[in-house]
Point group: C2
Chain length 467, copies 2
């Protein structure tokens, strides 16, 4: 996290200027100049620019874009704007745009659109592409199959180097994935891959099966998309080929999709760990009602589970009445406990997510947390004792007795040890029984730790203070 508020590169300043200029040209209806300007811009930037334009003007502006740029921009736009555009398009316009959209992007668009719009999109697409789209849509959500791209270069084993170059030129794709060609046999079974670098350094007449690399990292259609992204990250790949159960090549997952998956999964963890159901759209575009829906169930759960802490306090009512000073330290003990627990749980949850920690490490983790928690517990208890003596007694004249201070410090130390134990074991156990460890973070651990710390507090208070 750096702290500068805006991008500082020259390129970004230039972009701001271009967008401002585009708005002027739109106001003045100077579409010829607008076309020149837009042709120089990146699709992602045009999409950002269009977000601020009144929605009824968007189709008008969109029509000045050349066909391929129009398709690329369309993919980058948000769902609402895509829908408006599709509804504004004539059948011919829709066909022109959709014919340049990649199959995996088309699937993404279709998944977000209402049924009548989907019908129009599918009508505008050629039957072969429609078949491919249906295939991808049939793969389970979150599988490699559901995010794969079907645009790649495949070669037969008997092809020569010059055949390969011919095929690459033929695709006409200016996508980096054309630089890896996948070699398949007659039954489309994946045999190996050959890179353009290898092709460039081999004689024109060489046979690809002789120069190919047959040691291919691949994945299967039903693999979890998160595992596929980890594969791409681990081996620094640009794309990973996807095969079906018969080892036939059916698509590739590319690095840009892998980045999106990694980001998405991290955001989901951020939300779940903080007791929020993950939102589907960016915050500013999500309705108040949907944000409420994402937050209220967890608040309700917390409220109900707090019944236990309430019951514990009620049952020690007489003890508290005898030593009212004990009440003043309840928030500190609860906060410290909750914080200690979440420090451990967040560390373990992320370790699990990143594949750094597995269930089999549970004893190692508990042993490590035990030592950390004893260190934290003792140092914090000592600091608390000093604080009570200096701040509460000397400065604020609260006259907290030595015995009460001792009760608080022992509770502090034990609470931290137990909180860290719960914090580190709960996510591991959740993973083991097939639950999402991230959900274990905030609400559950806080409630359990709250209850435990109060029990310890009052039990020790009763024992030491004779109340």
């Amino acid at each position: 996290m750096q702290d500068d508020i805006e991008f500082a590169t020259e390129a970004e300043d230039l972009l701001e200027e271009k967008i401002e200029h585009a708005y002027e040209l739109i106001e003045n209806k100077d579409f010829a100049k607008l076309k020149d300007l837009l042709e120089e811009m990146e699709p992602a930037d045009i999409a950002i620019m269009l977000e601020e334009v009144p929605i009824d003007k968007v189709p008008l502006i969109f029509r000045v874009l050349p066909k391929e740029l129009a398709a690329d921009t369309f993919v980058e736009m948000d769902t609402d704007q895509q829908e408006v555009l599709i509804r504004a398009f004539s059948d011919e316009e829709l066909e022109a745009v959709m014919s340049d959209v990649f199959v995996d992007d088309t699937v993404d668009i279709i998944e977000e659109m209402p049924a009548n719009v989907v019908r129009r999109i599918l009508r505008s697409i050629s039957p072969e592409r429609r078949a491919k789209i249906n295939d991808i849509m049939n793969y389970p959500e979150d599988s490699a199959g559901s995010i794969m791209s079907t645009e790649y270069v495949d070669l037969t084993e008997t092809a020569t180097v010059s055949d390969a170059f011919g095929k690459i030129r033929e695709t006409g794709l200016n996508k980096e994935t054309v630089y890896t060609c996948y070699v398949v046999d007659r039954n489309r079974k994946l045999l190996g891959l050959v890179t353009v670098m290898t092709l460039l350094t081999s004689p024109e007449t060489a046979i690809v099966s002789e120069i190919m690399d047959d040691n291919v990292i691949y994945t299967t259609t039903d693999s979890d998309k998160e595992d596929v992204s980890k594969l791409i990250e681990k081996y620094d790949l640009l794309a990973v080929p996807v095969v079906d159960r018969e080892h036939r090549l059916v698509g590739i997952v590319t690095v840009d999709d892998a980045i999106d998956v990694i980001q998405e999964e991290a955001e989901e963890d951020f939300a779940k760990m903080n007791a929020i159901t993950p939102l589907e759209k960016p915050y500013l575009k999500t309705s108040v009602f949907n944000i409420w829906k994402a937050r209220i169930p967890w608040l309700m759960l917390m409220m109900v589970s707090a019944t236990f802490t309430g019951m514990i306090i009620s049952s020690f009512e007489s003890a508290l009445a005898a030593q009212v000073v004990l009440t003043a330290f309840i928030p500190m003990l609860m906060d410290t406990g909750g914080n200690s627990g979440s420090q451990a749980s967040v560390t373990i949850i992320r370790g699990l997510s990143l594949g750094e920690i597995e269930f089999k490490d549970i004893l190692k983790v508990i042993w490590k947390e035990a030592r950390v928690s004893v260190l934290c517990g003792i140092s914090l208890a000592a600091a608390t004792f000093a604080k009570i003596m200096l701040v509460n007694n000397l400065l604020l004249h609260e006259n907290v007795s030595w015995m009460v201070a001792l009760v608080i410090c022992i509770t502090m130390c034990l609470t931290i040890i137990i909180a860290k134990f719960i914090g580190c074991t709960l996510p591991l156990l959740a993973k083991k029984i097939g639950f999402d460890p991230a959900v274990m973070a905030s609400p559950f651990i806080t409630t359990i730790v709250d209850a435990v710390s109060l029990l310890i507090y009052f039990s020790i208070a009763r024992a030491l203070l004779n109340i």
Copy 2:
């Protein structure tokens, strides 16, 4: 987050088998077969395999690897093992390995090594490479310059297509970044880029400056590496060229490094939001003392700031003594407040990190959170009222009076509204004044919200219950 504990792909099973097999061969000292096996494996996997091997055997195994594979594996290994290897290497061996390690990776290694090892590494490297390494090491931490790679293909404006292919072949790099060539003028100023696809579809004699794309997305050496990663993510790039203040091309940042930056930043946010100083190494490899050091300052801070909540409770001691039942609801009110606040703050902090929200959106954000918090507050207050009547009174016979229930519900509603207001504004203000918004998440907001909710609670209790 999916819930299967282990990777499910065939490829992963195969990898497990290979690693097991390698261990057997090492035990039996069958180095010929080991060599054949390792040559089929990916560098990242060999590095994983080596982690479980006794450290004194690692140099022995390392020596069976062919030169290039040895270099790639070396880069993937962890710092401790790299250090052991460097110390075990003869000068010749070190030179052989280091000559195949990319400049940016060499910088990463040097940054982690003790001074005497660094001296040995630098001695083993050619003077030109040493100059490049020094350049990169002089860029500020977290800048694009510090993570850039200096291995790329550059062409002069007058080069022809066949010159370009010659230069690409000459690099001998089987890295995907060779498929984009950067065109520079006599002073090395960046003019444009040309992809291999364009080269393949152009006549051999064409001049690159005529076929190049002069609309290049680039960054500067002093840009924040996080911004560069966002650029790569936004435009789906494989690499972004890095220029100095005079617009001269000095390197490229590649997508695999961008993924690492994105991951790293997310992990830092996870840690900071949960009151942990980010760890530099994976959890299981970090010492107990270092974990303690990363956690204890935040716990101390929490403990000290809890003085305020303690003071508030102490000052309302008489009110609490008059109505001991009020104490039982303190944990619920505090937890709900803390949770509501962190729901808002996490959403805003991530929105800021992802660039979805900026400081100028502050009024939009406050207005949105205001409506969400009123909805949450009213629904939760109603649920709490029902819970008190049904659970506390009917089920547990605690006889909470109507008035006390009312006090609790009004406090609940107001606490949520204020907690969400604090939760959404604090990160935005932190960003504005140049603080890291992530640090605002847990400890600060919890403490403030705790204090505020207690103040509201006791004030309303005094007013309505006449105590």
